[in-house]
């Protein structure tokens, strides 16, 4: 029985050997880059030394996690990561649905095209360039904002020394960077709505606001829900690129802007604090996994078409 199974397996491999060989490059890539590091999570339960490496270092149980918890970082970065992600998700959904609905109703073809091209610009540039833009505007000594404030005889503001300001600026930058992209997603969903429903509603005397409220938005709802769920499943994963470029290692801002990803990076690369970095990293990976699987389970129960897997 067992050998029959094995020979069926070998037969399949032999029969399609060329195809399996064709899969090999990508298969090997993920084996090395994704699967090989996975056992390395044991490092979170060890006291890392360079000589010992991942597998030779001494076990120390939950010490790293206790340290992560007792430093107060665990609660702080979890809160920041989750809250920022919720705000990002809500604002960018609202802004892009708003923009998509307006773009769909606009009559001027060229204006529409040019506006959309403009809105796509931030999507194509790197966060490094965004950091340069932020520096140009908010830099205390020479920034445009303070130049204007000084001209108006107002007191210059120190944005890079004020953590509260970034609670508003980070969501703004996030929406700004992605609005062209997400608007296209919703716009193409609107374009897919059957035209006849609009026409018959118009004949029945519905004005354009009623048509948007009663037809466009309800028809967009499934798309909104799918994109929200996709976003929700990534709620423990922070936008490292944005936070690291805009905030960097500015200690004044960390309390309100440190997320799990920046904490892991800083602990690992700058402070060589392997205990903190690996404990926070494993905490994030495990929690993320649980969240994705549960979100998917919930979606599947309601409507299996929308499930992620």
């Amino acid at each position: 029985m067992k050998s029959a199974k094995r020979s069926a397996f070998l037969y399949e491999l032999l029969k399609n050997k060329v195809l399996y060989m064709m899969f090999l490059p990508v298969g090997l890539y993920f084996l090395v880059m994704a699967y090989l590091p996975m056992p390395g999570i044991v490092i979170a339960f060890k006291e890392f030394t360079y000589n010992g490496g991942i597998f030779g270092s001494k076990w120390n149980g939950w010490t790293n996690f206790r340290y992560f918890y007792e430093s107060g970082k665990l609660w702080q970065v979890t809160q920041n990561t989750v809250l920022y992600n919720i705000v990002f998700l809500a604002l960018s959904t609202a802004a892009s649905v708003f923009a998509a609905v307006l773009l769909a109703e606009m009559t001027g073809k060229y204006f529409k095209k040019i506006a959309q091209t403009f809105m796509f610009l931030p999507y194509f540039i790197s966060w490094v360039t965004v950091a340069a833009i932020a520096f140009n505007i908010f830099n205390y000594d020479y920034g445009v904002l303070n130049t204007i404030l000084k001209k108006l005889d107002l007191v210059p503001v120190d944005i890079y020394g004020n953590p509260n300001a970034w609670m508003y600026l980070l969501p703004l930058f996030y929406v700004w960077k992605g609005i062209g992209f997400t608007t296209v997603l919703y716009l193409s969903a609107i374009m897919g709505i059957d035209h006849e429903s609009y026409e018959s509603a118009q004949i029945d005397g519905a004005n354009i606001f009623q048509r948007i409220w009663r037809i466009t938005l309800p028809m967009l709802w499934p798309t909104i829900v799918i994109l929200l769920l996709l976003g929700l499943s990534r709620i423990m994963r922070g936008e490292f690129d944005m936070f690291y470029q805009l905030i960097g290692d500015n200690g004044l801002l960390l309390e309100k802007t440190d997320i799990i990803d920046t904490l892991v990076f800083r602990s690992l690369v700058q402070m060589n604090d392997f205990g903190m970095a690996s404990a926070a990293g494993v905490y994030q990976s495990v929690l993320s996994f649980i969240i994705i699987v549960s979100v998917n389970w919930l979606v599947k129960r309601k409507n299996s078409d929308n499930a992620l897997f």
């Binding site: 899969f23 994704a34 590091p37 931030p122 833009i133």
Partner: protein
């Protein structure tokens, strides 16, 4: 059909709102451009302003006087983007073809093998140690190319595209004629994938072009850093721009216009993308629509 009052009101509102949003997306760039054209003196005296009193090209003159470091970084970025995108597309579509072939018995297992990596990963620490201490491929083009080379979602999108637009009968009849699977893929399937590869290729290329994270983690050798990381170092480390420009012995470090130079370098590094993206934007949109088709 004549337009009603309600539609006119909405259109006026839409023009204003979309106009404001679109302007808000572009104006920050113009501000950087304007700042880079200000004289260092006026910046130190009054700060950056929206419109410079008079145009001053000093910062750009310094950049173009000793362009070696910037040209090198451009070269690195172009090489990595070009080579990385081609390699990625070639092997991604090959794997996607295997996953789309219904006669491959374990194709669902293989798809899950790929997909699982998006659900769970070992985190940064083991990955970092593996690259640096075990594989020892930091500070090399290898890591710049490998990091982020394949994206599972892109492979699954290509698979869906193949399943929807390349009929099984093509592969079957070619097989009866004696062609092997690799040949079928190369001569029949690959040419049919042009639309999806163009769209996915742009996403991959943009990822490579804008990548600075890999260098931040693994590259300390300034000779192989890509453009975006060079720009990051210029913006972050006050002396770095002076270092790379003062290779020209005629320029005394102290004379360099620090603040305007940062912005000028930002413009030089970002300019080409700004000119290119309007032409590729429609392929991006096409890519999104292809990706939206669930399989």
């Amino acid at each position: 059909m004549s337009r009603g009052r309600d539609e006119i009101i909405l259109n006026v509102f839409a023009y204003i709102m979309i106009g404001v949003i679109a302007a808000g997306c572009v104006i920050p760039f113009l501000m950087v451009l304007m700042g880079s054209l200000q004289s260092e003196d006026s910046v130190l005296r009054n700060g950056f302003s929206l419109i410079p009193e008079q145009l001053d090209f000093t910062a750009y003159r310094y950049v173009f006087d000793s362009p070696a470091a910037i040209l090198r970084a451009y070269g690195v970025s172009i090489f990595i983007t070009g080579a990385g995108t081609l390699i990625s597309l070639y092997f991604s579509s090959m794997a996607a073809y295997v996953l789309a072939r219904k006669d491959v018995k374990y194709r669902n297992a293989l798809a899950f093998y790929l997909f699982f990596t998006t659900l769970f990963n070992g985190g940064l620490v083991p990955y970092y140690l593996m690259i640096k201490n075990y594989l020892k491929i930091d500070n090399s083009f290898t890591i710049l190319l490998l990091s982020g080379m394949f994206n599972v979602i892109y492979i699954l999108i290509i698979r869906t595209y193949i399943a929807g637009s390349v009929p099984d009968s093509i592969s079957e009849s070619a097989k009866i004629d004696g062609a092997n699977d690799f040949k079928i893929f190369m001569s029949i399937v690959l040419p049919l994938l042009k639309p999806v590869l163009a769209a996915i290729g742009l996403f991959i290329a943009l990822g490579y072009w804008n990548d600075w994270y890999t260098s931040l983690l693994f590259v300390t050798n300034d000779k192989i850093i890509p453009l975006q990381y060079l720009l990051y170092k210029i913006l972050t480390f006050a002396r770095f721009s002076q270092q790379i420009l003062s290779q020209n012995a005629a320029v005394a470090v102290i004379d360099l216009p620090g603040e305007t130079l940062k912005l000028a370098l930002t413009i030089v590094a970002t300019g080409p993308i700004i000119f290119l993206y309007p032409f590729v934007q429609k392929h991006f949109v096409a890519g999104l629509t292809i990706g939206a088709v669930k399989g």
